[in-house]
């Protein structure tokens, strides 16, 4: 769900944009910025829920040390979105609690 963003990028910064999909919603972002920055500017109020208390969490450090900004990017869970630059067509999903592998990826899948 997207709400009022905490941050915005002034129009004077205008440059090339890309479009990513966040939880089935299209999000436009300036090329070259991180996925975390793009989501904050788009109004993602939280990025994931915590693994124990299922509380909403969002980026804290923006430099790769706090691991609060973990999301699923193009099918790979628990990516540090502050370290991944946006790419056109990227599919990003919120992460709910602890990540578990789908049964089909464990053992022989039976």
């Amino acid at each position: 769900m997207l709400t009022e963003p905490l941050f915005s990028i002034p129009a004077s910064e205008g440059r090339e944009t890309v479009t990513i999909i966040f939880d089935d919603q299209a999000v436009t972002a300036p090329a070259g910025i991180s996925v975390a920055a793009a989501l904050l500017v788009a109004g993602a109020s939280d990025f994931r829920t915590s693994i124990v208390g299922h509380e909403p969490r969002a980026p804290y450090c923006m430099m790769g040390v706090c691991f609060e900004c973990l999301v699923e990017i193009d099918g790979v869970p628990a990516r540090q979105s502050c370290l991944v630059p946006v790419k056109d067509g990227m599919i990003v999903r919120r992460q709910q609690g602890a990540v578990s592998l789908p049964d089909s990826e464990i053992g022989d899948g039976r």
Binding site: L6, F7, A37, S45, C61, C66
Partner: protein
């Protein structure tokens, strides 16, 4: 697996790493710099080359000054591996890292760890709520994306970066609802003893005073000597509550940026079992090195803020000194003293202000060791201060044991964000010094690695 080799491998492309690379190249050494980000500069000079002019103007001259070092590095002939995530370093100079979805090996005759600093955690009630971020994090958003707060923002805590961000926001036209400063009169008294020494760094001192004067001249609400900080809200932050002069204040906001200084990012030096000591002035761990930054009898050196908080300029000088020492060991610089002398002099000048800053902006005890049992200390595994104190009551001796007692420090951040708080909380509870309590045992991989990254 194919192993690349180099004379000097550098981890981190901030001031220390870039300056070390430039210096080593002048000695004819082959240099490879690995950095997690997509562009060099570290956090301090982040995006300095591609930031639009208007943004650089907002960020100020200290930021733009980084362009010189970045361009010297670009023409130095050093190899830069961007978006490279180092997950293991060995004391013989072997590095494992992931780049482009594959794990690779690099062997350096010497390795310089220049992984910089991180913001000190600010464990108060509500600090895990969305909308509470580090002031440094917000500054990264400004440097890397030009992003500014949409609604009036609250800045809280202490330290140069907090005032710098306030100043930058003023210049950018962003609205600041309040600056809630935890610095108290007693801090000024304590710091005054170091004022004479700090005068040797008079340029830095003058800059700092200029920032604070600009903030005072503006019409933003300034609160000083604040205590009992608490972020309020349910699903996101709604307000900052605190006490000042015996009265309670509550300032509604959707964005609370907190800061109480930076601490060395010691994950790599801990992972190689290097000796660390507790710095009582800076209240953090730092690796024990010789004057050039070498870790014991290993192939590893440390420079810059990952060795001890010294700031960007001193970090660059430390990088150069480490490179000279490495050149000396590799036989390309038989006499190190002449070349090192001016650097050692400038290092003294750049670091003269530190004791003053450390004393003035010493983070408050209550903001390092939570008073309330409810405060989350380990954000990943959601372990509270009360739980940690309970572990101690049950016989838990130090940070490592908190893992067994309640998974504290075992989440994806691998203790980066709770380690200092856990050490100090246990030390307080057991009435010992942090040095007696110790730290987590940090093991590789120090970054998450996918099994798929090992597949050729």
């Amino acid at each position: 697996m194919n192993v690349e080799t180099t004379d000097l491998a550098i981890i981190g492309a901030g001031p220390a790493g870039l300056a070390a690379a430039c210096e080593a190249r002048t000695l004819g050494l082959s240099v490879t710099v690995l950095d997690e980000q997509s562009a060099v500069g570290g956090q301090i000079y982040r995006n300095v080359v591609s930031a639009p002019r208007a943004r650089s103007a907002i960020l100020g001259p200290d930021y733009s000054a980084g362009a010189e070092l970045v361009s010297a590095f670009a023409s130095s002939g050093a190899l830069h591996l961007d978006s490279a995530v180092v997950w293991n370093v060995a004391t013989d100079g072997t590095i494992d890292y992931i780049r482009e979805g594959r794990t690779r090996k690099l062997s350096g005759k010497y390795v310089l760890l220049a992984s910089g600093a991180m913001e000190r955690p600010f464990p108060i009630e509500g600090w895990t709520l969305p909308g509470v971020m580090g002031a440094g994090a917000a500054q990264i958003l400004l440097k890397s994306a030009g992003a500014l707060p949409r609604e009036p923002v609250v800045l809280a805590g202490c330290g140069p970066l907090l005032y710098l961000l306030g100043w930058q926001y003023l210049r950018a036209g962003a609205r600041i609802a309040a600056l809630v400063d935890t610095t108290a009169t007693s801090d000024y008294v304590r710091a005054s003893r170091h004022l004479m020494g700090a005068l040797r760094s008079w340029k830095e001192l003058r800059k700092g005073l200029g920032l604070i004067a600009a903030l005072r001249r503006s019409n933003i609400a300034l609160y000083s000597g604040c205590s009992d900080l608490r972020a309020e809200g349910t699903c996101k932050v709604e307000a900052l509550a605190f006490r000042q002069d015996g009265r309670s204040v509550r300032i509604p906001t959707s964005l609370l940026l907190v800061h109480q200084g930076v601490v060395p990012n010691t994950q790599l030096s801990w992972s190689v079992k290097a000796e660390h000591r507790w710095n009582k002035a800076q209240l953090c761990w730092e690796p024990v090195t010789d004057i050039w930054g070498r870790l014991g009898e290993t192939a590893l050196y440390v420079a810059g803020d990952s060795r001890s908080i010294v700031g960007a300029q001193a970090s660059a000088v430390q990088g150069r000194l480490a490179a000279l020492s490495i050149g000396n060991r590799l036989g390309v610089l038989p006499d190190i003293t002449i070349r090192a002398a001016p650097y050692l002099e400038s290092l003294k000048r750049y670091t003269a202000i530190r004791p003053f800053l450390d004393a003035l902006y010493r983070p408050k005890d209550e903001n390092r060791v939570p008073v309330s049992d409810k405060v989350v200390v380990c954000r990943c595994e959601e372990v509270t201060a009360g739980q940690i104190r309970r572990f101690v009551g049950l016989g838990c001796q130090g940070p490592n044991q908190t893992k067994a007692f309640g998974r504290c420090g075992m989440g994806p951040c691998q203790g980066r964000f709770c380690g200092l708080t856990v050490t100090e909380t246990i030390a307080r509870e057991r009435q010992l010094e942090p040095a007696d309590v110790g730290y987590y045992r940090i093991r590789p991989p120090i970054k998450p690695v996918l099994l798929g990254d090992f597949v050729e």
